[in-house]
Symmetry: C2
Subunit: 254 residues, 2 copies
Amino acid sequence: ALTIGIDSGSTTTKGILLEGDSIVRRFLCQTSFRPADSIIEAWETLRAGVAGKPFLTLTGYGRQLVDFADKQVTEISCHGLGARLLRSDTRTVIDIGGQDSKVIALDESGNLADFLMNDKCAAGTGRFLDVISRTLGTQVEQLDIITDGVEPHPLTSMCTVFAESEVISLRSAGIAPEAILAGVINAMARRSAHFVARLSTQGPLLFTGGVSHCASFRRMLAGHLNSEVFTHDDAQYAGALGAALIGQRQGKRS
Amino acid sequence: ALTIGIDSGSTTTKGILLEGDSIVRRFLCQTSFRPADSIIEAWETLRAGVAGKPFLTLTGYGRQLVDFADKQVTEISCHGLGARLLRSDTRTVIDIGGQDSKVIALDESGNLADFLMNDKCAAGTGRFLDVISRTLGTQVEQLDIITDGVEPHPLTSMCTVFAESEVISLRSAGIAPEAILAGVINAMARRSAHFVARLSTQGPLLFTGGVSHCASFRRMLAGHLNSEVFTHDDAQYAGALGAALIGQRQGKRS
Ligand code: SF4
């Protein structure tokens, strides 16, 4: 049977149409000023042409905002499930999204062992890269190309606000923007590695969420963790995928 | 003998020309892009017309940046000393400046008993009020007048970056800017009260630093601490005053 999972994040809304273990359709958009509108858009897009009403599971910040879902599940459960579908031997998930970050430890069977969540401080989230990129007039999507092979310039501030001022000073002092950006990515990767280290985790580690698409971040994170960091083309859909999977299981039980 | 104390802060540079326990001259300016320039400006202004070279003590972030000082002392020692001169029975100093905040516990004799310092997170500092005021197109100096007697609108985010977004949303939702600003001040006062509570402190509490000039902040801080909060017209000079006092003592010894 076809099931749908929608992950209503504060920055992006992701959705998956799933059949068994196979992704049939993907949906991704910037979360609207009214997040419920994005959920409705995801729902309409994913179910278009599908006979009947697929089982719908919602996760993410906005999961309570509409009343037509069959189930609402916390992000932590969905991300763990989704990560295991993307890579079946995953023991640690590090998810860095636009406005939060989490580390999830799974046991050998994929059950939740422990987790940590940060949605209080912008410095450990995609927002940090957004703010600094905007300050330097760079597109976040260009970070990889710009910083490829560039020696990072050290950055002192960890706070997004103070880092923004520091970056402006470094530019005035004539430091090249690509060296500053590499330094910013490196500082954030180091911070994320500390965050992971607060949990007792094992490999393989799967990196999910929007920031996982940044290859230079991945490389620096692997360096600071001194371990391999895996990712997946569908890594940004891990939460939605897990949500859709819950529907598949529900279907089997009933 | 005349002595000079200069407090080279990251936002403002303050200086005092002292004779015994009496302030002869004050100096205050925005810290220049090159902080050493502001120290030199303070030094030249304060010593103008003074015979000989007054004993100079430097404190604050920039205290190592020039080589003509007789002494360099940490902020914590200077703030404690300065606070006691402003109010002799002070047992707790809460100092909130442009980019840091500190709580200092003093024993009955005014000796340092314990302290806490935050210069890592903009949310507990004057920078928080600056960022939000700028977002709402308000001058920080106007906060008191604007928020006087206004019921604070609740604010969820504690992070400066997330609070900025929240404030923009609240404006779009039609909430009055003065209610938002009162909410912002209240949220920061609550956070500062938590910060103070992390130390075992006693009254009287003297509030110093740039933010101490904001009467509505003081009122809300007193409410959250459930205790009186004193301040002084010269509260922003506490560090410089303490530094100048160290010179007075030095003179007596030698
Ligand atoms: S450190 Fe900076 S980014 Fe983090 S909570 Fe504080 S203000 Fe926000």
